[in-house]
Amino acid sequence: MNAIILQARQLSKTFHRPAKVDILKQLDLTVHQGESIAITGRSGEGKSTLLHILGTLESPSGGSLEIAGQKVSFFNKSRIRNDKLGFIFQSFHLMEDYTALENVLLPARIGRRDPSPKGKAWRDACSLLEHVGLADRLHFNTKLLSGGEKQRVAIARALCNNPDIILADEPSGNLDKDTSRHIHQLLLDLARHQGKTLIIVTHDPELAAMCQTHYRLLDGQLTEEW
């Protein structure tokens, strides 16, 4: 068994508006390095909330979270997000008016790595875009790319800073079936090839089945599906 890369203890999340809802209830989760996890559940069960908490985008109402051995706090979560995590969203969330390469380089720039063509970040970004099959689209404005291409740019961007964990929220939700299949395969292959931990929130049972572990979120608790 690989080392633990993410550990959530007694995580809870309560929304107070418009009415009090306990969306996560003392939830525990342990993820090992290189593991691929799918989290499924009904709409409104709190899958995205859980993913955002695991990705430090949202603070839990209770409990603690440790990523790569570091306890997440207000002061280090931006740094952890930049160094250890990569996000892939359903709506791609690429920066407009930027090229594919510029988008992929953004995490490196935020992390103060040299984004110039002479730097390693540039080479890594080009290599990632080649891996996702966009070698000929490096300098295309993302507005000109198709949905599948945009999601590939998002995958490359998520991997740019060589993070330990990739968090994907419905990565194929906006794509057709064929493209979805390609994206799923690409994502899993890259994660496996690079030894990344993958946490995917999805409605797609096919994608969930491709992951090593499949959790169902129900009533604020995770239960493992077999």
């Binding site: 985008l57 931006s78 995590l85 969203f89 690429l94 920066m95």
Partner: protein, 515 residues
């Protein structure tokens, strides 16, 4: 720095963000307009003020040393009145400088010292201190002051009698008008004074020709040279320089008149007359008594002063300390005071800068007050202009909400997000300032053409030459430049704080889910 690159992307006008682009362009132009206005206004104002101060210091000096009450009650000063060596007369500072007697009193020849007569001020060797020569020596020995010149000055009063101005049809009978005036000596070897000398007018030339003087070198014209003013040597009268008000009232170069004053004689007080000739006109600037201040040679002022008690007006006699840079005046004053202290004569002398002279203090203070007031008004205008930045940035923050969420998801800290919008405000303020400063430089270059054009349009002078001179200053004020740059940048930065804070406080999770 990724914050800067993101901010620059946001600031480039785009069709897709038309409202933000229009607001940002208008905000920048408003800042540019305000900066242009402030820089032009302050530059012209500073130029005029510097011109006025130059004239004040040209006619006086940046620093003056004047005798105190203690000087006039000292043994050194009073001993002349009981000494045969001094003809029982008080001496002016100029005379004190020239006399070989520091202590003219001879106990064997002169009457006995009255009781309560002040004790002599003696040095460590027991000799009477020569207060004037020591003061001159202290001033002249100041080090590290460029262009240092020390000379005495005298001001006195007399009645100036000049022929009725040449507007009268009756030119046969000389009729004189009497002007109570101040007569002041001036440092003819000071270059600063040449800047106040007015050029010869066509009417003056005509008048000079009518004098029928064949030898051109004998013409009674004061000439400005590289080293100062060269006063003419003429048998027609003592050459004097009149303030420009006389010229405006019809007095011409070469006009002859006389100065009258009253002098005590053994039998009575009699009127004395000294013939004078108008050798030039000068611009006295804004000195309140400038219109009545006649510049004459030191011999003439000394002669008239000798008829009055020297202590009647302490400020009418003293030592001028001139130097190259008048902004060094406070430092020179401090050095002078130290030197006088060291010589042990500080209580006998008062050292003042041009900002403290009795006749110019009020004006200088008024100019300073106006400057402070206008600076405050300018600051308020800049704040109003930059407040547009707040609205523009708030719209931009709302417009870029999703991008803020994306950047946060990639690890951008709330500080980085705040920095991006802070930079946006700063860049807008900076660009506005640069446009404003550039147009201000261009405006200043052509300010006189512009004023001439507006004057022609309205049918009379936009600025009265009597107060503002024939041309306006065109030099860019460094102080104004620094003021607008620092203020605009600081206010723009402050204006960016509210939107930047708003942006940094956005919850990335909420944004990403909402989108």
């Amino acid at each position: 720095m990724f914050e800067l690159s993101i901010a620059c992307k946001y600031l480039i006008p785009r069709w897709r963000q038309l409202s933000v682009s229009i607001i940002s362009i208008i905000s920048t132009l408003v800042i540019a307009l305000v900066v242009w206005l402030i820089v032009v206004f302050f530059s012209v104002k500073e130029g005029l003020e510097n011109g006025w101060i130059d004239k004040i210091t040209a006619l006086t000096a940046p620093v003056r040393i004047t005798p105190t009450e203690k000087y006039y009650h000292s043994y050194y000063y009073l001993s002349d009145t009981i000494s045969a060596n001094s003809n029982y007369n008080n001496k002016t500072i100029s005379e004190k400088l020239l006399t070989p007697f520091t202590d003219p009193y001879d106990p064997y020849q002169d009457e006995e010292l009255p009781p309560n007569w002040p004790a002599p001020e003696v040095d460590h060797t027991g000799n009477v201190k020569d207060l004037v020569k020591l003061a001159f020596s202290a001033a002249a020995s100041l080090s590290g002051i460029e262009g240092l010149k020390v000379s005495d000055f005298e001001t006195t009063i007399a009645n100036l009698h000049l022929p009725r101005p040449h507007t009268s049809s009756d030119t046969q009978t000389p009729q004189f008008l009497e002007y109570p005036s101040f007569i002041g000596s001036f440092d003819a070897d000071s270059f600063a004074i040449t800047k106040t000398l007015l050029p010869v007018s066509p009417a003056d030339s005509h008048r000079l020709l009518s004098l029928k003087i064949k030898d051109i070198s004998k013409l009674p014209i004061a000439a400005a040279t590289e080293t100062g003013i060269l006063m003419p040597s003429t048998s027609l009268g003592e050459p004097v320089l009149l303030p420009k008000g006389f010229r405006e009232n019809g007095t011409l170069l070469g006009d002859q008149g006389y100065l009258s004053y009253y002098s005590p004689t053994p039998s009575s007080i009699q009127e004395q007359q000294i013939p004078i000739i108008v050798a030039g006109f000068y611009d006295p600037g804004i000195i309140p008594m400038g219109g009545k201040y006649i510049l004459a040679g030191r011999d003439l002022t000394g002669l008239i002063r000798a008829s009055y008690g020297q202590e009647e007006n302490h400020f009418s006699n003293g030592i001028n300390v001139r130097f190259q840079h008048i902004n060094e005046a406070p430092a020179v004053k401090a050095k002078l005071q130290q030197a006088l202290e060291k010589a042990g004569i500080a209580p006998y002398w008062q050292v003042e800068t041009y900002q403290e002279y009795e006749f110019s203090k009020a004006i200088i203070q008024q100019l300073q007050s106006e400057k402070n007031l206008f600076s405050l008004i300018s600051l308020i205008i800049i704040i109003v202009a930059c407040s547009n930045i707040i609205s523009m940035l708030i719209i931009l923050v709302n417009d870029k909400k999703l991008e803020i969420g994306i950047l946060r998801s990639m690890g951008a800290s709330s500080g980085s997000i705040a920095t991006i919008f802070g930079i946006c405000g700063l860049v807008m303020g900076g660009i506005g300032s640069l446009i404003g400063i550039t147009t201000a430089i261009l405006t200043l270059r052509y300010v006189n053409e512009l004023v001439g054009w507006i004057s022609r349009l309205q049918g009379h002078d936009l600025f009265n030459p009597i107060f503002y001179g024939s041309t306006l200053p065109t030099e860019l004020s460094f102080e104004a430049l620094m003021f607008v740059l620092i203020t605009t940048v600081a206010v723009s930065l402050a204006a960016g704080i509210v939107p930047a804070f708003k942006a940094s406080m956005m919850r990335p999770s909420a944004i990403l889910r909402a989108e």
